[in-house]
């Protein structure tokens, strides 16, 4: 048995050396459900710069595990590292403008934030809420749904977004739809 195993090892080593076999893909999933902590800043436009490479994006692959010929398995969750300082500043401006009732300015600030960090769920949450304030309920719900597509796998965020959709539907007079959204929120 031992001799057989050794023989197999040798043969296999030879074959492996010149093998063109497609490698079996190791799924590079990093299940980091850690949520983005909102960074507080007293001065909206004077914050410390973000360290290199800390823009909001999921840790998805690493070079070693990524083959040229295989499709990477999608991550089951997005894990944002640090929010970009510019986005924080814009979100704070938008919030201030929202509170002042200047909803169009708030929308402009949020769209600037979206261009910088299109995968930041906070941007979509605030933007959906601004459209809700503008009584554009159809668009508000769609923006919130876009946010949901980003926060897949993050229960707390999913619950928050579904509650926002429930509020939007309530404002739009869709009571049964609001109840459904509220029930969905409770699932997380």
């Amino acid at each position: 048995m031992t001799t057989n195993r050794l023989l197999i090892v040798v043969i296999a080593m030879v074959f492996t050396g010149c093998s063109t076999m497609q490698p079996v893909h190791q799924a590079p999933i990093e299940d980091r459900a850690a949520q983005t902590d909102p960074v507080k800043s007293s001065e909206p436009l004077l914050v410390e710069p973000t360290p290199k490479g800390s823009a909001t994006k999921p840790d998805y692959d690493n070079k070693e595990s990524q083959s040229k010929s295989t499709v990477p398995v999608s991550p089951s969750t997005f894990s944002a590292t640090t929010q970009n300082a510019a986005v924080i500043a814009l979100l704070e401006s938008a919030q201030h403008q929202f509170q002042q009732g200047d909803l169009h300015s708030s929308q402009s600030s949020l769209q600037r934030a979206q261009r910088i960090a299109p995968q930041d769920p906070e941007v979509y949450y605030a933007l959906a809420n601004t459209h809700r304030g503008l009584q554009d309920y159809v668009l508000a719900e769609q923006v919130a749904l876009k946010g949901i597509s980003i926060v897949q796998g993050q229960s707390e965020q999913l619950s928050r977004f579904w509650n926002l959709i429930a509020d939007i539907r309530t404002n739009a007079g869709n009571i049964s739809g609001a109840k459904k959204a509220r029930d969905t929120a409770k699932r997380y």
């Binding site: 499709v71 991550p75 769209q111």
Partner: protein, 783 residues
């Protein structure tokens, strides 16, 4: 009858003496003269009144038709921005920044290896003022890592002023950037007055001294070398009269100039002159005013020009065509130096200034480096979108400000990639086979739906046929994702087996349709995902015919295709024509998880005072479930990894995940590629306007341009977060049954939960067999 009357008339009249006749004639003449005199007085008075009213109305009312100004997106600077120092330079060149050793004024920049110091100019944005400031930007590779005020604190976010990329002009094609007198440097007004009308502040509209001087000079020279018109007369001529050289015009000029001087101050007249004067021509566009001329000749705001530049502009007034510094640089220099000499003689500049200025070369920028007018295809899209809400007249006269999402850096890279690929293909295949090869490209942000760049043809500055919007060409296999999407919305999974054997269809007219695979082979039973990744035609046609053409058309509509589509079987292989921008809209929905987003080129429109008129916000509508779209996204990624577009990863880093599809129309008349990363979606079309076949396919042509563009971009990987109802299963490729990671060639495929195969592949059964444990052990060892 007539003859009779003629003979009778002399008999009726009494005979008169010569004296009486003469007296009567004089009296009559005097009466006529008096009447004429009064008539002239009245007519002159009325004319004078008319002129006066006309002059005042036009001067005080709207004096100029102001073209709409179209701006590129402003560059947002923040730590973490994926941008290299070289890319910053592209932007700053577009803004006309001067690259200097030491920054001292707005509009200047200095560079070291990893650092830039810039002095921004500031800009009045609709949502607030961005003030001029000196900034230090630090870079590491292709990222901006830190931004701070010069000798100050770090800053989170700064917007640079946007590049002016074009205008929408009135019918007379006059273009101008208005300036106020206090914006005009003293050097300019001094030079202008010195060379054109040195008594400007003394005369009353006309200058007898000036006329005498000019006459003397002309007599001495024996020809016409100098005019005696004052600046006021010149303004009157340009403002109210035609350019015709006639005595009547000249006679009108004098009273009008005097009237203008009567009503308005010298400074008001000078300010009007600075904005009215004609200073050059670019094709049909007439360059008026010193504000625009500064941009046109030096790509700088007038306030930033140096003495020698101002002298040149002042010198151009005499003959913008004759002294055109681009066509006749020596003539222009001679004229500029004359202006400087006059300034020096009049004591307006010092010896040193004079010597330095005449020693400086003209410093005119190449016309090709001007970004205004450099993006005709993009501007075309902007105009089409604007015309849905604004009248042409308002667009060309009201001075509207239009803020677009054009990204000049992206546009620059896309143009370089497309044009160089076309040139390479021509070299490779020879001019005969690809004569007149054309191409177009659309680049969008897959997350926001904003159009970042558009190329309408290989001559990127050509204002004619815009292929990106108007070339409706068969899309070939670019249509296939709609078929496979429809299939997975029904009962198919990625592991479903499709029949790729030969297929014939007898049409209603009795003809037979025999589609073929590109390699003229059939591949037997193939997995659904493989059929799309390798773009097999036979299995696709069989699949399409089994699910029905109407559901596929419905899917295309939900993907964003609004054009009416006929349900012909040839649709399945992309006989349907679409323009590149329509393809972009279709793939945008695929890139954004099933959210259809109208492609937007305009962000905001304001009036000339900055008051917002209309905004074009981010809009979206989910038309396809993110779960089924996830399945399609997998197949499009597979196309890039191991399918027809696998050459991508010979050039791109494998960690940059992208997805896309090649397309080749019937007889290889069109070469397409549509694909996206996390932050860029690009559509490339190559073909010939005469619709002749090409010697290459989608992957041999358009894909090369796409790769060339993408490999020069700072890309973010495309990531599709896994929807809740998606699960990944290991599948054995041959059987399509459940496998596991220990089995050779096993592949993880996504399924909507519960729809995947449940039966086990033989490999799994073998692995569970204790006798085959040694093989498993080995497999693990060498994984």
């Amino acid at each position: 009858m007539a003859t009779k009357k003629a003979t009778k008339l002399p008999q009726r009249r009494p005979r008169r003496t010569n004296k009486n006749v003469k007296f009567g004639f004089k009296k009559k003449l005097a009466r006529i003269a008096i009447k004429l005199f009064f008539a002239v007085v009245v007519i002159s008075g009325l004319g004078f009144l008319y002129l006066d009213t006309h002059i005042r109305n036009q001067f005080e009312g709207k004096r100029w038709a102001l073209p709409a100004k179209v701006y590129a997106r402003p560059l947002e600077l923040y730590a973490g921005l994926p941008m290299s120092l070289a890319e910053l330079k592209i932007e700053l060149r577009g803004l006309g920044y001067q690259f200097v050793k030491k920054v001292t004024h707005p509009g200047q920049a200095e560079f070291s290896e990893t650092r830039a110091i810039i002095y921004s100019r500031g800009f009045q944005f609709p949502d607030g003022i961005e003030r001029a400031q000196q900034l230090i930007l630090e870079f590491s590779g292709s990222q901006l890592t830190r931004i701070q005020r010069y000798q100050g604190d770090p800053i989170a976010l700064v917007r640079l002023e946007p590049i002016l990329i074009g205008g929408i002009y009135p019918l007379n094609n006059e273009d101008r950037d208005l300036i106020q007198l206090h914006d005009a440097p003293h050097g300019l007004t001094d030079a202008l007055i010195a060379i054109e009308d040195r008594d400007f502040y003394q005369h009353v509209g006309i200058s007898l001294k000036g006329i005498s001087r000019a006459m003397w000079v002309n007599i001495k020279a024996g020809r016409f070398v100098q005019g005696g018109s004052t600046l006021t007369q010149q303004l009157i001529k340009n403002f109210y009269l035609t350019s015709e050289r006639s005595l009547a015009r000249k006679l009108l000029e004098v009273p009008m100039a005097m009237l203008l001087e009567l009503h308005y101050s010298k400074d008001e007249i000078l300010e009007a002159y600075l904005n009215e004067v004609y200073l050059g021509q670019e094709g049909a566009r007439a360059i008026h005013g010193f504000g625009l001329a500064a941009q046109y000749y030096f790509a700088q705001p007038i306030q930033e020009l140096k003495l020698h530049q101002l002298a040149l502009l002042a010198g151009l007034v005499k003959g913008p065509s004759y002294y055109d510094p681009r066509r006749h640089p020596q003539r222009a220099k001679k004229r500029r130096d004359l202006v400087l000499k006059v300034l020096h003689n009049q004591g307006k500049i010092t010896d040193k200034q004079y010597q330095q200025s005449i020693a400086t070369h003209l410093g005119i920028i190449k016309q090709a480096s001007l970004l205004k007018g450099a993006y005709p295809a993009y501007l075309d899209l902007v105009k089409r979108q604007l015309r849905q809400s604004y009248r042409d007249q308002d667009l060309s006269t009201e001075g509207l400000r239009i803020f677009t999402s054009l990204n000049p850096i992206v546009q620059h890279k896309a143009e370089t990639a497309l044009v160089s690929t076309i040139n390479k293909l021509e070299n490779w295949y020879g001019n005969n086979k690809v004569k007149g090869l054309q191409g177009s490209m659309v680049v969008t942000n897959p997350q926001t739906g904003e159009v970042m760049a558009i190329i309408g043809g290989r001559n990127t500055r050509y204002q004619g046929f815009n292929r990106a919007l108007d070339a409706v060409r068969p899309v070939g296999s670019l249509i296939k994702p709609a078929i496979y999407l429809t299939a997975v919305e029904q009962d198919y999974t990625l592991a479903s087996k499709l029949d790729d054997s030969p297929y014939n269809l007898t049409m209603q007219d009795g003809k037979t349709w025999n589609p073929e695979n590109f390699d003229h082979q059939s591949h037997g039973d193939v997995a659904l995902h493989t059929a799309l990744a390798h773009s097999y035609n036979l299995s696709t046609v069989r699949l399409g015919m089994s699910i029905g053409l109407n559901p596929i058309i419905n899917t295309l509509e939900r993907l964003g295709v609004s054009r009416p589509i006929d349900p012909y079987p040839s649709l399945l292989l992309g006989a349907q024509g679409l323009s590149p921008i329509e393809v972009a809209a279709m793939y945008q929905t695929m890139a954004s998880n099933g959210f259809q987003m109208p492609l937007r080129s305009i962000r905001l429109v304001t009036d000339s005072a900055g008051q917002e008129l209309s905004r074009y916000p981010f809009q979206l509508k989910q038309t396809i479930s993110s779960s089924v779209l996830h399945l399609l996204q997998y197949m499009l990624q597979e196309t890039a990894r191991s399918g027809t577009a696998r050459s991508i990863y010979q050039h791109l880093d494998p960690t940059i995940n992208v997805a896309g599809k090649t397309g080749t129309s019937d007889d290889q008349r069109d070469s397409w590629f549509a694909g996206f990363s996390g932050n860029r979606l690009a559509i490339v079309w190559l073909g010939r306007d005469d619709n002749k076949p090409l010697p290459f396919t989608g992957s041999g042509g358009a894909l090369k341009a796409w790769i060339s563009y993408m490999s020069n971009e700072t890309l973010e990987p495309f990531i599709a977060p896994m929807p809740e109802d998606i699960e990944y299963l290991w599948i054995a490729p041959k059987s399509g049954l459940v496998s596991n990671q220990t089995c050779q060639d096993a592949q993880q495929l996504p399924f909507i939960t519960g729809t995947g195969p449940t039966s086990m592949d033989d490999c799994v059964k073998k692995n569970n067999d204790p006798d085959s444990n040694s093989a498993n052990w080995l497999h693990h060892l060498f994984r």
